[in-house]
Point group: C2
Chain length 344, copies 2
């Protein structure tokens, strides 16, 4: 099989940033994806309907050449029910950041006391607004995600009708946790299916592979690959593609974030198909990819994706050294390397 057709691919965790960076990166996603869940961690973060609508308009302007839906989110705060009722139809999820844990998360949550969160989370539960979480503690960088797992568990138990999405999971233990509660779901990035800490820091140090949560061990990557490719209903693709200017990545304090939007589909086909050696296996792999890349998200979020077919062909694609817009230069993951598959 030298051609794979993908229906309505969705990127359920995407950073589009703003202004010139938005103009640079948004079309690279909208060309390939049917839609994406847009993260709200701008400076300042998106917390009001006006900010949300303005941001959505700017995204629409940048993606106007394509049939593409920006599924919007707001930055979690202790919102009251009235506010949530009013904004409900304009958002697909609310994104919760622990304070200070990643790029532009300073205004995030510093206590996970259930009673403090109860009113907001019950309102979200009643209104069927999913809660999307960057789940990391402030502990040692390799332990942060696993240290956060009891909080996922506490939230899942206390708010059984709230859909909770464990964003960009990176560990074997997180893969186990998502299967433990009916109301837990997860996104998995492309880069966590490809790299471990060894790729970042085992040889030379590679700033373009630096992200939060940091890439973990081989056994973690193996668990993520199994969960993503096995056709499980509870996991969705979320690239967490997070562009920073190249000058900010290759500096003495490199910001966390890997830019993968323009290479995601090509790599995903490669990952899902590569162990297949007959037509039947390719059929199963493609079906599982379709679930991971679209069907699961449609069910979990209850969205109706814009129709889009993307054809991926077995033809080498050389990843560009950079993507630019005006003065902005962004380096993609694996710049100058070659992928086995291209977009037709």
């Amino acid at each position: 099989m030298n051609k794979i057709i993908l229906n309505n691919p969705l990127d359920m965790h995407l950073h589009l940033r703003d202004y010139d960076m938005l103009k640079l990166v948004a079309p690279l996603s909208s060309k390939q994806f049917s839609g994406a869940l847009i993260m709200p961690n701008l400076v300042p973060p998106i917390t009001t309907k006006d900010m949300l609508k303005d941001y959505k308009k700017r995204i629409q302007l940048s993606t106007s050449n394509d049939n593409f839906e920006a599924y919007m989110t707001i930055f979690f705060q202790l919102y009251d029910k009235k506010f949530l009722e009013d904004i409900k139809d304009d958002i697909t999820a609310i994104k919760l950041y622990p304070a200070g844990i990643t790029t532009n998360s300073d205004g995030g949550i510093s206590s996970f006391d259930i009673e403090t969160l109860r009113a907001t989370l019950e309102a979200m539960s009643d209104l069927n607004i999913p809660l999307s979480i960057h789940g990391e503690s402030d502990g040692f960088v390799m332990d942060r995600e696993n240290e956060f797992l009891p909080i996922y568990e506490k939230l899942a138990v206390n708010f059984p009708n709230l859909k909770i999405i464990m964003e960009h999971i990176t560990t074997k233990e997180a893969c186990d946790m998502v299967l433990k509660y009916d109301n837990l779901f997860a996104t998995i990035t492309l880069h966590h299916l490809l790299i471990t800490l060894d790729d970042l820091a085992g040889g030379l140090l590679k700033p373009h592979l630096f992200c939060k949560p940091i890439a973990k061990r081989y056994e973690d990557k193996k668990a993520l690959l199994f969960l993503a490719t096995s056709g499980n209903d509870k996991v969705m693709f979320g690239s967490d593609s997070a562009p920073h200017p190249t000058s900010k990545k290759e500096s003495c304090g490199c910001a966390a974030g890997i830019f993968t939007a323009p290479i995601a589909l090509q790599y995903l086909v490669d990952i899902f198909i590569k162990d297949s050696f007959d037509e039947n296996q390719i059929k199963t792999a493609t079906k599982n990819l379709q679930k991971f890349l679209s069907y699961n998200a449609v069910k979990i979020y209850g969205i109706k994706p814009t129709k889009k077919q993307i054809t991926i062909v077995k033809k080498p694609f050389k990843i560009p050294a950079n993507y630019t817009y005006g003065d902005i230069v962004v380096t993609p993951m694996d710049a100058n390397e070659q992928i086995n598959w291209s977009i037709l």
Copy 2:
């Protein structure tokens, strides 16, 4: 106590590189240290008497303003006894690198089969030439040192009269291992007493804190601090100060190595003294620092250090942003930050 006098400080693991870089960094060490053990991993590595003598001459030229002894090493190979007898008086140790494990280690050892190594190691043992080892496996970056510990153990048991130095140890388990065999000793760097993986990659990514072996966990740092500061006879200071041009550190493939030579003594005094709250404690701390920084190495290596007294005073020292020589620019660890102690 606002003044600490250090006698004959020794840096028992130092990279001086060559040519202009040598001219830049060597005087920064020779001003502060009585002597240093010079690593042989140039390109090509130092493996003959002629190369050794030429390199030593270049070092002497660069340090001629100071009373400073360069204790030379050669790069481990399967040398025969005749070669070792001939070179014995010109070297202080032989440095063994597993192949490909760090900067310029390509010609290193790929098998630790005892019978393969026996002739060389028995000759070294007979001639009382210490074996200095970069002890890392080729496994997952956080596990490499601990995976190498059984090899240290095998060598210690098979060559009981060979002095084996575990270079730049970074883990709690390595701290335990050095105490287990009479013929095992260790160096500890400054940076592994100061940082963990969190400092490298827990916030922004900091290329100037990237080194091999990579900085580990808090419990590892705690064990290293205890071993270094407790007055134990088996550990020596070895900075592993390893300069690379700033442009090579702040790039998309950053070389491993932290440049600490010009800030080592000031930081070490701070580390050893900081928990002292009376004169007696300061006296003990200074005595232990003196062992770590000179006396232990003198005993372990049987060297006679050149006499040098360095006075460290309690006065803030702002670490320079860079050190330069001609076109070469090198950024020290903690550039632009302030240390509590200065060299008088």
